[in-house]
Amino acid sequence: MHGNRFRHNLLTALLLGPATAWLVVFLVLPFIAITVFSVGERAPEGGYQAAFTLAQYANLPARATAFWNTMVLAPAGALACLLVAYPVAYYLALRAPERWRLILLALVVIPFWTSLLMRTYAWMYVLGGRGIPALLAYVGIEDIRLINTPGAVLLGIVYGYLPLMILPIYVSLERLDRRLLEASADLGATPVSTFLGVTLRLSLPGVMTGFSLVMILLLGEYLIPTLLGGGKVFFIGNALVDLFLQSRNWPFGSAIAITLVLVSVVVLIAANRISTRLSGARRVDLI
């Protein structure tokens, strides 16, 4: 009995050990470091100088626009992603012929094997003057500019994060008990109300998982707006890059980073709550 429990504890420790070590080294320690930085001061030549002040937090309104842009972009981008992803996931899970399903799923995932940077660079060339605009000029439509527009940023975001949205929705739809759909139809529901009342409702956990996953990644996004938006749209991620790499104001950058982490946690919890309430029963744990 005693030995059994020991063995059980040892097993638990071995199983959790690597993940815990990983989290301590790459999450907890850096988090402590930026917390310390965030109450410090910028050294005259940039960098960090020890101090205890809340001045950096008091200065947060100086990046209010960046926070605001991010708070608008992240949900909007996630929503756009959702609108494109849901029909795809629906088709894959409920309509696609069995023998095609695996191939189609693979096609969704394969672009993910290439780095997001590479794929975004590819879009730069497709949307740039030698890409689609050159084709348009060939048929007589001159001087069309696609790159560095809000549309290009939206396209990049939807494209870049689509698989992260499709997969969780697909999983929840795939598990859907088809007999419920038949029951709903037998009891006289129209296809639309069956979809809204049964299919959509039961896939909500997947929707919320995908939505929060994409949204949290978008909260820290800076690459796509820089490359496809021409650096004209300033998100909190861009503010962070500039504070650490350009003006070297590490304390202020740290204060912003901590605020961003807190915001992300709040978003996660809220998404979790909403999802639990909407889907009625099951709790979804994201973290």
Partner: protein, 387 residues
């Protein structure tokens, strides 16, 4: 020789893409691409391991087999590094940067892994103050001849009689215009900004760099490029915020957009202006008659350089006039070294992009150390970018 943890690491994805893009737009050839990305080195190393290629011996000092340099985009003749490798057996990894602040940030954070880097004049006093660059051992730089250098361009490398950096080349900051799209001749920063809001609407780029973007906005009103006066900066901010919605991009990587025809006008450094004009003759390079920036890029060695002997060896190699000439022909920036100027072909010396008329050079100012590190200008830039 101390080994950096970066030694032997493959090129990062960003850098790989960077080089791939340069290959695509023809800034470098395929061989150079292989060299810079390490694909060529990998092949060479494999060849050496199995005994196909002898390792060249270097008499004086053990230089190791690799080092890393931090520099600017499109700034070297890639053949330089291949030849250096042939002579010494040291493979050079090239890190490309977008701004001096970024370089400074990396060096401040420590363990940059570089054994040589290319800072601009106004950063050297800061590096010295922070104690992160080496006082150069001139005995190891026999090929450098201070008496042949133009002191106007080289003075900032020497502080209190100690040389911390030796010059690579000088240049100016003006703007490039695609004259097919914007035919009206322009000669001033005032015209640059006004055109950006009119005919150049949606097609104009400014640097993602506070020093030049704010500096050249200050020139609109005739203020100093280096101004730190709050009222003058407020005027510059007003202009920048007004122009912002009309811009194509805020980015220092303007060559691809200019080449593709997406952008018609951009703030531009000499060397990029010369490269663009060389390949696309309708792209002109203009110096604002109100003035603007003149600069010198230097070579310096970080104190924590993982391979100092190779850093010195490469620097000494680069100071050889015959090598430096090729560098200038490749990157298009003018030289500070009279020995190099003697070797440059006449058409280069007559090129007004590289060697502008004296009356255009006169009003130009060197950027100041305080301009770069001023927190007020950094915040202004953030407000401009987030507007």
């Amino acid at each position: 020789m101390s080994k950096s943890y970066r030694d032997g690491l493959p090129i990062s994805p960003d850098k790989f893409v960077d080089q791939l893009m340069r290959l695509k737009r023809g800034s470098i050839g395929r061989r150079e691409f292989l060299g810079l990305t390490g694909l060529g080195v990998a092949t060479a190393v494999m060849a050496r391991e199995i005994g196909l290629m002898p390792t060249p011996a270097f008499a004086a000092e053990n230089l190791g087999d690799r080092m890393s340099i931090a520099t600017w985009p499109n700034y070297h003749d890639p053949a330089t590094f291949e030849n250096f490798k042939k002579d010494t057996g040291v493979a050079v990894e090239v890190n490309v940067f977008g701004s001096n602040e970024e370089m400074l940030a990396k060096l401040q954070a420590g363990a940059s892994g570089w054994s040589l880097f290319v800072p601009t004049n106004y950063t050297i006093s800061t590096y010295k103050k922070l104690g992160i660059i080496e006082a150069l051992d001139m005995a190891k730089l026999a090929n450098f001849d201070g008496s042949q250098e133009d002191p106007r361009f080289t003075s900032e490398g020497t502080i209190d009689g100690v040389t911390y950096a030796v010059p690579k080349n000088w240049g100016t900051t003006g703007f490039a215009v695609n004259t097919k799209k914007l035919a009206k001749p322009m000669t001033s920063w005032k015209e640059f900004w006004d055109t950006a809001m009119a005919e150049g609407d949606g097609r104009t780029m400014v640097h993602d760099y506070q020093l030049t973007t704010i500096g050249n906005a200050l020139k609109y009103y005739g203020f100093s490029f280096n101004s730190l006066k709050p009222d003058e900066l407020a005027k510059a901010e007003e202009l920048l915020l007004k122009v912002k919605p009309h811009l194509f991009a805020v980015s220092s990587d303007y060559q691809p957009s200019m080449r593709a025809g997406d952008a018609w006008m951009t703030m531009c450094w000499t060397n990029d202006g010369a490269q663009l004009h060389r390949d696309i003759p309708e792209i002109a390079y203009v110096l604002g008659k109100e003035g603007g920036e003149i600069w010198t890029d230097f070579y310096a060695i970080p104190k924590d350089a993982p391979n100092k002997p190779a850093g010195y060896a490469l620097l000494n190699y680069l100071m050889t006039p015959q090598v430096a000439v090729k560098e200038h022909l490749a990157n298009g920036a003018p030289s500070t070294d009279a020995r190099v100027n003697k070797l440059l072909p006449k058409e280069v010396l007559d090129n007004p992009i590289l060697y502008p008329a004296a009356d255009l050079l006169k009003p130009l100012e060197f950027g100041a150390a305080a301009t770069l590190t001023d927190p007020g200008r950094a915040e202004l830039m953030a407000r401009f970018k987030s507007a």
